[in-house]
Symmetry: C2
Subunit: 179 residues, 2 copies
């Protein structure tokens, strides 16, 4: 299994690193891709080196595309036509599409949320979705979540879909995450 | 308030980033320092750019010194005489010293745990401590914690000590961390 995690300047660092770390623990091959410079600075001044540029990987096949939240990172993702096209193509071909915190606004802008159950950080504008206030909300291939405090549950939900419930349960125990 | 977070190759990324991010949200000036190269690679192949080298900051004053866990990162910290001296000096001058996951082995090697209440990742060797199985354990200026699943509680405990309970409560709400 392969997952693409998109990083824009102003991403939320705990959310991004939790997704990458937990998926890699599950044996998923994670590629992090930056919109512009490979060196990407989060909203709390933590700089990550992305594995690739978005243009270098945008024609590759991934089993999941995952968007960390944070501001202005989520707006940068939403305002990039390449990102909107990529998540639309992923969703249309039945791939898993995940977004946490403010990042569900990218799915909204890509037209993926019409009538779909979804969640996000409080105050995020998702006018076309059926908003659900829960830590993790799944509707078909879309998985959404709310923020830093739900990032581990979000990552474990992605693991369950990509690597199975047993792997998710094993990781939960190894990371000392309470059920 | 100023905090020093030490990064060695093989650090646990979720733990490190949670500490840095949450302390910065609290208004604590966090400096990340690398033992060798400024570019530090975590145990799940995530590379962070440290703010400084350890040698460049080892004579500066900090209100807290915090050690993320992970392997082999925790062993690298433990086996570095500069790190042991630095945490010993911090503890002796009453500064806050925090360690999570496997990193309490550094405090053990520095001789700081004799008779002290402490916790760590299951299986970590802390022969001189009074081991307590709790998410976060405080004994005087020492704050220890268990792993990825307890990293947010650990960071919030450090915030409470450095910036007060009100700030910790505000961040808990903003990050959607359940009490």
């Amino acid at each position: 299994m392969r997952a693409l995690v998109l990083l824009a300047d102003g991403f939320e660092e705990i959310e991004a690193v939790t997704i990458i770390d937990v998926l890699r623990r599950a044996g998923v091959a994670v590629v992090t891709a930056a919109l512009t410079s490979r060196s990407v600075r989060g909203s709390h001044a933590i700089t990550l080196e992305a594995d690739a540029s978005l243009d270098a990987v945008s024609n590759e096949d991934f089993d999941a595309v995952v968007l960390p939240g944070g501001m202005p990172g989520s707006k940068h993702l939403r305002d990039d036509a390449r990102v909107r096209a990529l998540v639309r193509r992923a969703a249309e071909s039945g791939k898993l599409v995940g977004a946490i915190c403010a990042a569900p606004i990218v799915l909204e802008a890509a037209g993926l949320l019409a009538g779909k159950r979804a969640t996000a950080y409080p105050g995020s504008e998702l006018p076309s979705a059926r908003y659900v206030e829960a830590s993790v909300v799944t509707d078909g291939a879309l998985v959404t979540s709310r923020g830093v405090g739900t990032a581990l549950e979000f990552a474990l939900a992605l693991v369950e879909r990509l690597a199975g419930a047993e792997t998710a349960a094993r990781l939960r125990a190894a990371m000392l995450v309470e059920a």
